[in-house]
């Protein structure tokens, strides 16, 4: 595509005053994962409580969501595995993270001057990541059993109630993470949605929220 006003910025043409935060592949994986999660959460809640069962009708009927929920779950799990491959080095816990977590109350109160500088992901994002990663593992293991209970021998049926309980409990943990993630990215930290849509953030944004990462990618001390 030639240039023009509608042309998207590319990696080779970083807009003035901005830096690339997420590549196209990262964004695509993120949104595939996010849409899959949204479907899983809505259908899961429909099957979790009669209060939300009307959602089953909205999404095609009870039998339909029963059929698709496990398949979409596989997509969800696969995208998290891919995230793990992409971000392995970015999500390692550091000493600064431990300090950050101690001061998390200050972060919540927007007293960011008291927070130690953070890398590409801050310690809270890493916590969110691990909550979603481990809940996904539990959801996949329990979910596969719940997918085909008819193949379970009668003598093993006693584990089924434990399995469904764990599946629901893990889902609730992930919903807590999901709600906080959505709140923080859309409302609490302006610029995050842009980072995950066109991929770029302003230099000031990068410096404010992820100082160490900014210094690393630009080679600048500020």
């Amino acid at each position: 595509m030639s240039g023009g006003s509608l042309a998207r910025p590319t990696a080779t043409a970083v807009p003035e005053g901005q830096v690339l935060r997420y590549t196209f592949v990262e964004r695509a994986i993120h949104w595939t994962n996010g849409l899959a999660y949204l479907y899983l959460m809505l259908t899961g809640l429909a099957l979790f409580t009669p209060f939300f069962y009307w959602m089953a009708a909205v999404l095609g009927g009870g039998g339909t969501i029963r059929y698709w929920h496990p398949w979409i779950g596989l997509i969800y799990a696969a995208t998290i595995v891919q995230m793990h491959r992409m971000w392995r080095s970015d999500i390692k816990t550091t000493d600064a993270d431990r300090q950050w977590l101690k001061n998390v109350e200050a972060y919540a109160k927007n007293e960011d001057a008291n927070m130690p500088p953070q890398g590409r992901f801050n310690a809270g994002q890493k916590q969110f990541y691990w909550a979603m990663f481990y809940s996904m593992l539990l959801l996949v293991v329990t979910g596969i059993v719940m997918w085909f209970p008819e193949y379970m021998p009668r003598k093993a049926h006693f584990v089924l109630p434990i399995i469904v309980f764990l599946h629901s409990a893990a889902a609730l943990v992930s919903i807590a993470g999901f709600l906080i993630h959505v709140y923080m990215s859309i409302w609490m930290t302006p610029g995050s949605v842009k980072a995950m849509t066109d991929g770029y953030v302003s230099r000031a944004w990068a410096k404010t929220h992820h100082r160490l990462w900014y210094e690393k990618i630009t080679g600048r001390r500020s």
Binding site: F48, G61, H157, V164, I175, L179, T189, A204
Partner: protein, 303 residues
């Protein structure tokens, strides 16, 4: 059986009250909700007079319109190892060796027990897929079933069976269609020895206890008793057993069946904790935004 017996008492996956349920007047003038003993129906299976003829198996298939399934020969008279989605009534044959070396040949008609506290209904997420009628019958409505098999998870008797083609679950209806028309269930009608009885729960318990007393007084079955397990609130199918202390000998009849603890936790506290956490979580985030607002980024002035 006309007034109220086949009104719905409890319903699966349903928000709010039970449609058509609620208070009703008893013959003595008092009003109450829930089960009225006058409407309670019950099957009584007297294992001490069952001869294992399987007439009830055939009657069940005939009335419900299923073809006879393939049978499995396992060196006993038992038709197949377990009940199936289209085979709801199975006589279980068990040979138990007594302490004195003699053999007890135990036969038990296995089918849905129609629990007063049904684990299947508790676990079911689909609105209207499982209903419990005022008369105690627990019935599956396949048109609302979504095939998740949570009912299998909730049942302590291993009764609901999944059909892999229709993706729905089936079980004994206690012939709700016949009972609603004032008839006895098909199995009861076919029994040649009179080991199967049908009537109100109160009458069946009376008959059962009478039979137990007869066994105590006139036979060596000193441990004979009635099986009406309290853990599931009592059942609408009760047994007279030669040895009520060891129901497991009758093809795995559980001694003290209950709705599984984790199912109660899942459908009770976890549901409430989860709902409250989500509600207050969203409210809390809103209040956080109102109190602290977004994180500002101070743009650098261009030199």
């Amino acid at each position: 059986m006309s007034n109220g017996a086949m009104e719905i008492k409890a319903i699966s996956g349903h928000r709010g009250g039970t449609p058509g349920g609620g208070e009703y007047r008893q013959p003595d003038g008092t009003t109450r909700t829930g089960t009225s003993r006058d409407y309670d129906v019950c099957k009584l299976v007297d294992t001490t007079t069952c001869i294992g003829c399987k007439a009830c198996e055939v009657a069940c298939l005939e009335w419900n319109g299923y073809d006879f399934r393939e049978t499995t020969f396992d060196d006993t008279y038992q038709t197949m190892p377990d009940t199936a989605w289209n085979f709801w009534n199975l006589i279980r044959f068990n040979e138990y060796e007594n302490d004195d070396g003699t053999i007890s040949w135990l036969m038990r008609k296995d089918q849905c027990m129609h629990c007063a506290d049904p684990g299947c209904l508790t676990a079911c997420p689909a609105d209207g897929a499982i209903v419990q009628y005022q008369n105690g019958i627990v019935d599956f409505n396949q048109e609302h079933c979504i095939g998740c098999q949570y009912c299998v998870t909730g049942c302590p008797f291993n009764i609901p069976k999944f059909n892999d083609v229709t993706k729905k679950v089936y079980k004994c209806t206690l012939c709700s269609d016949r009972v609603g028309a004032g008839l006895e269930p098909a199995c009861i009608k076919s029994c040649p020895t009179g080991c199967l009885h049908f009537g109100s729960k109160e009458d069946m318990l009376f008959e059962a206890n009478k039979r137990v007393k007869q066994l105590h007084d006139n036979t060596s079955y000193s441990k004979a008793g009635v099986y009406d397990p309290e853990g599931v609130g009592g059942t609408h199918v009760i047994y007279v057993l030669h040895d009520a202390e060891n129901p497991e000998r009758y093809g795995g009849l559980p001694k003290n069946p209950t709705v599984p603890f984790m199912v109660k936790m899942w459908k009770g506290p976890l549901k409430w904790v989860g709902g409250l956490a989500m509600t207050f979580g969203v409210l809390g985030m809103f209040m956080h935004y109102v109190r602290y607002g977004p994180k500002e980024v101070h743009e650098e002035k261009k030199p």
